[in-house]
Symmetry: C2
Subunit: 220 residues, 2 copies
DNA sequence: TTAGCCGTGATTGAATCCAATCACAACAGT
DNA sequence: ACTGTTGTGATTGGATTCAATCACGGCTAA
């Protein structure tokens, strides 16, 4: 009969979730200092659960902690970001392979709708949101124990730079992204895991090379 | 003039390191309950840094925390372990590729000595130690920002089951492991990254299939 | 003018104390 | 005999408090 969800034992996780969201939406840019007392005050808690939240986000790579000094929103160099894309290029196809036989036709229809919506999206934030949802929706059918979390973590860590790149350099004329998305949906619909893997790996690879061509995204 | 290394700000990390070691050596088996006060007393600290240490190990996957209930050494099911091996199969070859052009001849000589020593090792713990050192030594030349840590984390999480498998089923007559190790050294020496990737992926894959053939390792 | 030094303030790290939660066992009812 | 319930003890979660550390300013001296 406890209508109140037990707020005991989840304070750290709740604070972590809100801070994570603030970082992903761009509210807190990389390099921003995070003061423990600020967070504590903002959430009406003490500094102790705040430190737990910071530990969690540090483990996710979103926050960088320095002993006796403080916490900052993590920054990435171009080299680090390329490394993450190369990891994605290897493991996302594997995760996709797990999903291909498990997705329902309705799942695939929804995927195709997302790909269509992206083609019509003019605004940056909407584009980013749809792109993220499209790709992560390719991975929700398989119940993996850690691969799904790993992939989502890689998306989270690179989120800010994807936004910066899109804002600065996205050319409306570039159709190949949408083309690849539709190729991917088509391969999934045919349940052709090998082809789906190839298309996805190529898609990520092309994105990485495109990003590497614009190192100014990572300056400061 | 501080001869004392600043013990401030590192208590959690130190406790985490010792607990990690205790888990990896098999001193604490999966499923073992970890009481915060025990750890605190054993390390002469309060429960607060212990909780930080547990958070760190939880992030590494070595410890499982349940709110308001306690902490246990993480267990793996066969399916989870297979998933980790499949991830390793994809990302370790990538990490190896980064290393192949950077390893010195001396590095490669040391690697070959390790492979030789493994062939002569009769005792399980020594075999495990040499095997771990052999593989991780393939990855120390490249300074990656996170790929190296990911791989090490996967080795750590599966360490206990590698030990259990080796204890129960290792047949002295199986030469293919050593054969593959020497093939790997040879490919590295020729700086043939493609071949090295292939050999390593096959090696991990073969190990996974072998493991899947003995599900009793994961019972209890 | 500039480089090095030192003191102060701000911020984090850790210990103790109290409250909330859960596991377990004894008990009562069927 | 078995199942559902309730109470107690053990254990974890969080707040407050104090100690250690670091960043940053002004100051002195070359």
């Amino acid at each position: 009969m406890t209508l109140e969800p037990p707020t005991h034992g989840a304070a750290g996780a709740r604070i972590a979730a809100e801070l994570r969201e603030a970082i992903l939406t761009g509210e807190h840019a990389p390099g921003t200092r995070i003061r423990q007392e600020d967070l504590a005050g903002r959430h009406g808690a003490s500094r102790l659960p705040v430190r737990e939240a910071l530990r969690m986000l540090e483990a996710e790579g979103l926050v960088t902690l320095v002993a006796n000094t403080g916490a900052w929103v993590s920054s990435l160099s171009l080299a680090e970001c390329e490394e993450m894309y190369q990891i994605r290029e290897r493991i996302e196809p594997l995760l996709l392979r797990f999903n291909v036989p498990l997705m329902s036709e309705a799942d695939i229809d929804a995927l195709e709708l997302l790909a269509d919506a992206m083609e019509r999206s003019g605004e940056v934030e909407q584009f980013l949101r749809l792109d993220r949802e499209f790709h992560l929706s390719c991975y929700t059918a398989a119940e993996t124990s850690m691969l799904g979390d790993m992939v989502q973590g890689l998306w989270n860590r690179t989120q800010h730079y994807r936004r910066a790149f899109t804002r600065m350099f996205r050319s409306e004329g570039d159709r190949s992204v949408h083309h690849e998305h539709h190729l991917l949906v088509s391969a999934i619909r045919r349940r052709d895991a090998d082809e789906a893997e190839r298309v996805l790996a190529g898609h990520i690879r092309r994105t990485r090379l495109e990003l590497a061509r614009h190192p100014t995204v990572f300056e400061n």
